[in-house]
Symmetry: C2
Subunit: 131 residues, 2 copies
DNA sequence: GTAATTGCAAAAATTTTGCAGCATT
DNA sequence: AATGCTGCAAAATTTTTGCAATTAC
């Protein structure tokens, strides 16, 4: 896999990104594969994996590990976090940032040089609440 | 797999829990399997998986999905979060809580009834910093 | 004795990789 | 033309499952 060269605009990559961006959810590699396949029937799952890996390494998309075994992907790079429903497993976005410095809050608790953080809220989604 | 019956104190389960509790890190199922195997050479990996699943469903241990593909497990149920090194993948604990109400900070951003949150700091661990 | 649990082996599920040919720049 | 990318197939990894035998209660 290329580490330094320029990214090319292949049909596969363009369609993949387009599908990922038009999806509000956070699809797994296979879900994305199914979506893209409708437009490019000959695409292979390996290409989907390779592109997701490449794109997330370049910071163009985000790779999520939200629980549940499979990884999920997210084209939204704006600052946001996630809420996960403990009942149905659904994952939604939460806009915004914490009003304090997370780095500072834990600065003396470890020797790490903190570069960022991921916040996952856990709760019950509206749908599951009304059941 | 049993859903309702009482848990039995099998040697496998006891040793598994003991090893998990005496480990400061957050081992994967396979790492735990290797540890337990030294004391119970005939244990099978399937038993490790089954017990980890069962114990986390009962809330006795925690199943983590911290990124990196494999799931990790944690016997510590006290309130703490995690830091992950982006270089080597190592995961450490971070004691404490945020000094603000996370629920409130995002209260108007979603319809969820928030029950908790998981925070994952990302950065470079001391060892990798000195390289 | 009964029901939970185990080991083994096989299967399922998910992700990665080698390679020859193709496509974007 | 050069090199990044793709499809395919095979391999590697991780997790789950069926089943007969065993074990804790």
């Amino acid at each position: 896999m290329s580490q330094t060269g320029a990214l090319r605009e292949t049909r596969q990559r363009v369609v993949l990104l387009d599908e990922l961006r038009r999806t509000k959810s956070h699809p797994t590699a296979d879900e994305l594969y199914q979506l893209v396949k409708r437009r490019l029937p000959r695409i292979s799952l390996a290409t989907v994996y390779r592109n997701l890996e490449l794109l997330s390494r370049r910071g163009i998309i985000r790779k999520l590990d939200l629980g549940g075994g499979q990884r999920r992907f997210d084209a939204d790079n704006t600052s946001h976090h996630h809420v996960r429903c403990i009942r149905c497993g659904r994952v939604d976005d939460v806009a915004g940032e914490l009003p304090i410095s997370v780095e500072q809050a834990f600065s003396d608790k470890h020797g790490y040089q903190i570069t960022g953080y991921r916040l996952e809220l856990v709760g019950v989604c509206p749908q599951c609440q009304s059941e």
